[in-house]
């Protein structure tokens, strides 16, 4: 009995502790912009602009979501310090969806009830899709820094959705266009590692190739077992198929094994892959055999002055390098606030139109959005291994 009572006591205090914590967190989120309002807003009568930030802020995938929160905070702080947008302060509502679709619907409902104008987020494609319907009904714009599922924009179902990252099929598109137009290749072997990422890319590449016509054909389409001891049988098959190039969807460990064995068997056809292979480990492992391999990767923006400034601001504020999608989150916030500024209102139609017509300088370059909601000017470049390093091909 005594044991049970102790247990109960512990449980009760734990519950209290938990509520206390979450209250604190909410207060904090609301506090930051409020302070700024008092400090730097002469026009206190104008209503603040409410922006939601949603994504994975805790759990396994928090490392994908938190950098965007930092990015939004950094940029919004700067805007508020400079007097806000048309004298109106920007206020943030930060909500966690743990990257789960079932939580994301709650997150979305909460932000809708807070009457936010737009949302920067969500982070994961699945969660984004689940939340989009709710935002659409409420007339709220959503800009994701990281949801790459092609359907989200291409289905046309969600006119309120935009993103500052290229969709998954953009890499496959670039690989295919490059191989056909630049390398003049007609016969392709398309391989993948059976994983979501690699197989997805390979399927896009295959369908783009088949839709091309003009004698372009896929002579071999296969999945290899990741981590297998040896790929020589598949390599022999590539040699026999008469393919003029290999397009591989997957990561560098398999790519380096396949390339190495191809070159050792005197199969010297171009090897074209994705940003899972555009990794220095690939060059380190494949060594001399990596020379000449093509891989797509995000356009290099590290020399962009806004990018450099954003990263430095982050280092000053958090004493660390920014994480994944930080730049995309920063660009999303810049594009959104710029559109609200240009539209001189927070009206859905006006902001939506401004996002699609006005170009804005962001860390990702000078961007705008197309009809479907994909960012123009954000995407991938083709890289090639030359003398032991990836070089961007212009």
């Amino acid at each position: 009995m005594k044991k049970f009572l102790t247990f109960l006591l512990v449980m009760v205090s734990a519950v209290f502790l938990m509520t206390a914590c979450s209250q604190k967190a909410e207060e904090k989120a609301a506090e930051a912009p409020a302070e700024n309002t008092e400090a730097a807003a002469p026009a206190a009568s104008t209503e603040p602009i409410k922006i939601g930030v949603a994504g994975a802020h805790s759990g396994d995938l928090a490392s994908y979501g938190l950098p965007t929160v930092n990015a939004v905070k950094l940029y919004v702080d700067e805007v508020n310090k400079n007097g806000g947008i048309d004298g109106r302060m920007v206020e943030l509502y930060i909500e966690d969806d743990v990257c789960k679709p079932e939580v994301a619907t709650n997150t979305a409902s909460k932000l809708v009830s807070e009457k936010v104008v737009a949302v920067v987020g969500h982070i994961c494609s699945g969660a984004t899709k689940a939340a989009l319907g709710i935002y659409k009904d409420a007339g709220i714009l959503v800009i994701s820094p990281s949801a790459t599922n092609p359907e989200l924009t291409q289905s046309g179902e969600y006119p309120n959705f935009l993103r500052t990252i290229a969709p998954d099929d953009a890499q496959a598109r670039l690989e295919v266009d490059f191989a056909i137009n630049t390398l003049n290749i007609k016969k392709f072997a398309v391989l993948h590692d059976k994983g979501d990422y690699g197989k997805g890319l390979a399927e896009f590449a295959k369908s783009f190739l088949e839709a091309t016509g003009n004698g372009v054909e896929v002579v071999l389409y296969e999945g290899v077992t990741p981590g297998a001891v040896d790929y020589s049988a598949v390599v022999q098959k590539i040699g026999r198929s008469g393919a003029e190039a290999v397009i591989f969807g997957g990561y560098h460990p398999e790519a380096s094994k396949i390339v190495t064995q191809m070159r050792k068997k005197q199969i010297n056809i171009p090897f074209i892959s994705d940003d899972g292979v555009k990794d220095d480990t690939f060059i380190k492992v494949a060594g001399e055999f990596a020379e000449g391999v093509y891989a797509t990767g995000p356009v290099d923006t590290s020399s962009n002055p806004i990018n450099i400034k954003a990263v430095e601001d982050h280092k000053a504020a958090y004493q660390a390098d920014p994480g994944a999608f930080f730049i995309n989150g920063y660009a999303a916030t810049m594009a959104l606030l710029n559109a609200i500024d240009k539209a001189d209102s927070t009206d859905y139609d006006a902001v939506s139109k401004a996002l699609r017509t006005e170009y804005v300088e962001t860390p990702l370059g000078n961007i705008s959005f197309d009809e479907k909601g994909d960012a123009i000017g954000v995407g991938f470049s083709m890289y090639q291994v030359q003398n032991g390093a990836y070089v961007e091909l212009k």
Partner: protein, 300 residues
Amino acid sequence: MDYFLQLFLSGLTKGSIYALIALGYTMVYGIIQLINFAHGEIYMIGAFTALIVASVLTILGFSGLSILILAGIAAVIYSSAYGYTMEKIAYRPLRNAPRLSPLISAIGMSIFLQNYVLLAQTSDFLPFPALIPEFEFLKPVSHIMSSAELVIILSSAVIMVLLTFFIKFTRMGKAMRATAQDKKMARLVGIDVDKVISLTFIVGSSLAALGGILIASHIGQINFYIGFIAGIKAFTAAVLGGIGSIPGAVLGALILGWTESFATGYVSSDYEDVFAFALLVLILIFRPAGILGKSSAQKV
């Protein structure tokens, strides 16, 4: 015809490596009826040791073949020490425990060794130097057979002949066979059973280490996880051939290698594992003890 030969040889190469690892599984099982799941990790440790030694020797200015031999010897010694120690600390105290206990201990050992290498070395893939030199006389047929493949096939064959000789004709080999047949009886006629078991682990680990160094210099990369898949495949080969039987392990490994290679070559690599394991199930239906396994009545 060329294509058939290519697939045949790549299957033979794969099978030879599986065989080197499968022998360790089958010998240990033959003697103490334990499936040593940490055996694949010994293969991985062999490859890592060879990499470290080879890097040092390269800096010291040694060349091609001498590096391969010295690194091979170092890998064998180091892996044997691991095999010996593993038996001592993880399996010997459990020798009289129910059969499931050492099995769990083996799985624990496997996870422990993987994480140990992960922490002590790195989680990245590391490039492994091509220690096997390119032979001039193979140049004209290099699209069919590389010198690495030739070396793997030949050295595996030599190792297996030596092993057979050791088990058939030496005193220690006789003691091993006696222990496998009946531990109590072997002890009664004066065989140091503990020593024999230790020796079995040492021999099995040496073979795995040799497999590790050969395949690593063939495919040119290693990481802490390579032992897992190689171990599973070799275990499958041992079961296919009849676990406990030494020729069975070799036969099972070759059949597995060829099945994978021909399935990839003539059907699709998507179905490589499907064919391999469908074959396993099929053989076990008709010969539950494996191809060369003897189904013996349980001693009571």
